[in-house]
């Protein structure tokens, strides 16, 4: 029996605001992340308005455009995706799926949310200071990000960004310690590691990665802050800016890039691994079939995590680093394609001979597979070092990372929300609006991002305010940009419908039964829905089987929950179901 460390909360404040209950904290993280993500989405609309209809709007000048670009990237990757997958899904699902009453360190958990919220406030404050937020790109490369007036927001903007990141890292560390310790120490009786659902594995491995990757950003960020604020020269060599020699020398801009990408590359796997885990559970549950190759799926995630720490310099192939590094990082990067491919095959093989319910979570699961395929595959030319030379810093990269992080990961997140909403609220999300949300997002995403691969092959650089100076663009490019913008605004609009659906259904949605999808995992077996404080009532569950007993031959129903004891007799002709 696992221990739980606090008493039932009594007041409004301790129940809903300063709660130590992982479910409340998860909802707090999710709402905050979605709101900040909405802001990031609006920034993307403004950027697309500029690219589709250049010069149409006064306030869209190069300075503000580069600020929006920077903030959009940082917000989406760090403050939306990382926060919602680890802080939102991780917090909600881990204790429930492993049969624990709460996280290992509930007070630290609560603290982590408020520190995250503080980091968001500090980030947003940059929009209100003189000079505005930094416009040096989410990658914040010095000297551009550090030197006064080299880029927009080089005053308070960059300082607040770096301070916000440092605060976020503190929150992420607190969270990560919780998620990892809870998985290792608080599993209920019978819940061995290899009986955990893949959602938990994805979040668990991602949390380990986050713990070991964020410190590099912390170090680089603090040194960059010192270079900007205190006149040090960690990264600034001798430079002449606008005709003025600056009193700096000796610093190494590539040092920052190594530190940044040593964090940055694992960070994208921190985002994708939970999405992979969640997608696995969506697909298996709604195809009524065990996930194909569970053990391989776990090993593949572990392999991706491990190799993910030794690929970082594929972001630096043309940075001027020692060219011989290119060989190593190209090989390591392409090796990581293998476990990723194995996972794609296994998702497809899960659908094979399944009994596929095309409900909204499954549609998003299918959307995940398709967009992860193209997002992942387009990483290969970028990793193949010499092929990267023409593609680096072009729209090919923009297409690649948007499809894999901005679409595929979001497919898993949306699918997860539709899937677990009945558990969190006791109500169903509106299915018609859900299907509308899926169709527009899925088709729209391809319309927005596929053409970008072709633009990249042509040689259109990224982070451009407009393309007027490029002499090699075919005339149809402006029409293409308009089409992409229209698609982007449409996809953006449907997200508002989704948010509306969330709010409306939480209040007035159709009441859900305890286990509307017929799922096997423990979170669906709580005594009440939503689950009570302490999750399980008097007794935590005991687990007898793995998480994927769907359509077991000879069984009465097409699913057997994990806490149902196994039969003493062996079923003739069937494989053993106890794993």
């Amino acid at each position: 029996m696992t221990h739980h460390t606090h008493h039932e909360p009594q007041s409004f404040w301790t129940k809903y605001i300063f709660s130590q209950d992982h479910k409340v904290i998860a909802i707090q993280y999710t709402i905050t992340a979605l709101l900040v993500g909405l802001f990031g989405l609006v920034l993307s609309w403004l950027m697309r308005l500029q690219l589709g209809f250049p010069g149409s709007f006064q306030f869209l000048n190069p300075g503000s455009y580069y600020q929006m670009l920077t903030q959009h990237g940082m917000i989406m990757i760090v403050y939306l995706l990382t926060a919602i997958l680890l802080g939102g899904f991780g917090n909600y699902l881990i204790p429930l799926m492993i049969g624990a009453r709460d996280m290992a360190f509930p007070f630290l958990n609560m603290l982590s949310y408020w520190v995250y919220l503080l980091s968001v406030i500090v980030l947003m404050a940059a929009f209100f200071v003189p000079g505005g937020p930094t416009g040096a790109g989410w990658t914040l490369y010095p000297p551009l990000s550090a030197l006064p007036n080299a880029a927009p927001g080089s005053g308070w903007g960059i300082k607040l960004m770096l301070i916000s990141l440092v605060i976020f890292i503190a929150a992420a560390t607190m969270g990560g310690l919780n998620y990892v310790t809870t998985v290792l120490q608080c599993r209920t009786k019978g819940m061995t590691l290899m009986r955990m659902p893949l959602s938990v594995w994805g979040i668990f491995i991602a949390s380990v990665m986050a713990l070991f990757a964020f410190p590099a950003l912390f170090a680089g960020g603090v040194m960059l802050l010192f270079d900007n604020l205190l006149g040090t020269s960690f990264f600034i060599p001798a430079v002449t800016l606008f005709g003025q020699q600056l009193p700096r020398e000796g610093g190494n801009p590539l040092l920052f890039q190594h530190l940044f990408w040593y964090f940055g590359h694992p960070e994208v796997y921190v985002v994708i691994l939970p999405a992979m885990g969640i997608a696995s559970d969506l697909i298996s549950t709604h195809a009524r079939k065990p996930i194909f190759g569970y053990k391989a799926m776990v090993l593949a995630m572990a392999a991706i995590a491990f190799i993910g720490f030794i690929v970082w310099a594929h972001h630096m192939f043309v940075s001027g680093m020692n060219p011989y590094f290119g060989f190593f990082f190209a090989v390591s990067t392409l090796i990581i394609a293998i476990p990723s491919a194995v996972k794609v095959y296994n998702w497809l093989l899960t659908l094979w001979r399944g009994n596929i319910r095309l409900n909204v979570p499954m549609l998003f699961g299918i959307g995940w597979i398709s967009t992860f395929i193209i997002g992942g595959l387009t990483g290969l030319p970028l990793g193949n070092v010499v092929a990267d030379v023409p593609l680096h810093d072009t729209y090919f990269v923009v297409g690649h990372f948007h499809l894999v992080m901005g679409v595929a990961a979001l497919m898993a997140i949306f699918g997860g929300i539709y899937h677990w909403f009945p558990k969190v609220t006791g109500r169903m999300l509106n299915e018609t609006l859900g299907k509308l949300h899926f169709w527009v997002t899925f088709v729209g995403a391809y319309a927005i991002f596929f053409p970008m691969f072709l633009m990249g092959i042509l040689g259109v650089p990224r982070r451009y305010f407009d393309f007027n100076a490029l002499q090699y663009l075919p005339p149809q490019t402006s029409a293409l940009n308009i089409a992409i913008t229209v698609a982007a605004l449409t996809v953006g609009a449907v997200q508002l419908i989704f948010l509306g659906n969330l709010i409306w259904s939480a209040l007035w949605g159709k009441r859900a039964e305890a286990n509307p999808w017929g799922a096997t995992t423990l979170e669906w077996q709580t005594p009440t829905t939503p689950p009570p404080h302490g999750n399980w009532g008097a007794q935590t569950p005991t687990v007898y089987r793995w998480a994927y007993d769907y359509s077991v031959p000879g069984a009465e129903r097409d699913f057997i929950p994990q806490n149902v004891p196994t039969e003493p007799q062996v079923l003739v002709g069937a494989q053993s179901t106890v794993r």
Binding site: P62, Y66, G135, L147, A150, P237, A238, V239, F242, Q245, P253, L254, K289, I291, F292, G293, S319, Y324, G326, V331, I338, Y345, L348, L349, L351, W352, R353, G354, N355, R357, L358, I366, I373, I374, L377, P381, V385, V386, A387, V389, P390, D393, Y446, F450, P451, L454, M455, G459, P461, R462, R463, N468, L470, Y472, Y548, Y550, S551, V552, P553, D558
Partner: protein
């Protein structure tokens, strides 16, 4: 069912848009057909994978969708199948990586007789320096940059005196290998000539390198491929490839260090 149909449509749409050729490689104007080759092999492999996997997805969703009385089969794994698939994938990886690595090893080995040219990036323009008759580029030092010495030339170096300066255009003789020495005065830029498949960052505090041989006479464009401030999208420069005689004539008309750079 609609989802299968849409998946197929998406695949077809992708193929049509790509095959239209409207947005595709700019015609290659340098020796780097190996880069194009490596890239094309990679695109072919991933293109096939994209089509096949999405068609399989579309088919499975259609074939195995829930209908009255349907039941899934309990198939938790198949280690043999997994091994075969891993093998095929690994083979695919090797097929696209091997040519790439061979091309890369040539990429990082400039020929000895390459013409050395310095490229200097700054917010927001490119300038160039040629070694002059002595064939050697004089030393430069960022600390020496001043309004009268925009390249930061070290005038005590005798090799610098005959260096030829171009503040706006890069001219190149056709058919001769070129080794670029790339510098930046302020922030990181990236010197990108799409037609030659050239790209290398210009980093302050270091000199980076890139080599290529222009093979087509004509007018091309160099652009900046690393965010460098609000003029990033306007930072471009003409690149003119011409016959050797025309190139030398042009060179003779440009300012030299001796005549234009003062301490």
């Amino acid at each position: 069912m609609a989802i299968s149909f849409i998946l197929v449509l998406i695949v077809l749409g992708a193929i049509v848009l790509t095959a239209s050729g409207i947005w595709w490689f700019t015609p290659l104007a340098s020796n780097w057909n190996e880069i194009d080759g490596a890239l094309l092999i990679t695109l072919a492999v991933i293109g096939i994978a994209f089509v096949v996997l999405n068609i399989v997805l579309a088919y499975f969703v259609l074939r195995y969708r829930h209908r009255e009385q349907s039941r899934a089969q309990f198939l938790p794994d198949n280690p043999k199948l997994e091994k075969i698939l891993i093998g095929i994938t690994a083979l695919g990886i090797v097929i696209l990586l091997a040519p790439g690595l061979f091309a890369y090893s040539r990429f990082i080995s400039p020929p000895r007789d390459a013409l050395t040219i310095e490229v200097v990036g700054e917010q927001w323009r490119w300038s160039y320096r040629y070694p002059g008759p002595d064939g050697k580029l004089g030393r430069a030092n960022p600390k020496l940059i001043s309004p009268k010495n925009l390249f930061g030339i070290d005038l005590t170096d005798p090799a610098a005196q005959d260096d030829i300066l171009s503040y706006s255009e890069l001219h190149l003789p056709v058919g001769r290998p070129v080794l670029l020495h790339i510098r930046s005065k302020d922030v990181i830029h990236s010197f990108f000539i799409p037609s030659f498949r050239v790209k290398m960052d210009a980093v302050p505090g270091m000199v980076t390198h890139y080599w290529f041989t222009p093979t087509v006479i004509g007018r091309f464009q160099a652009v900046c491929a690393e965010l460098c401030g609000i003029g990033h999208h306007r930072m471009q420069s003409p690149v003119i490839v011409e016959r050797l005689e025309d190139f030398q004539q042009w060179l003779a008309k440009q300012p030299t260090v001796a005549t234009t750079v003062k301490p």
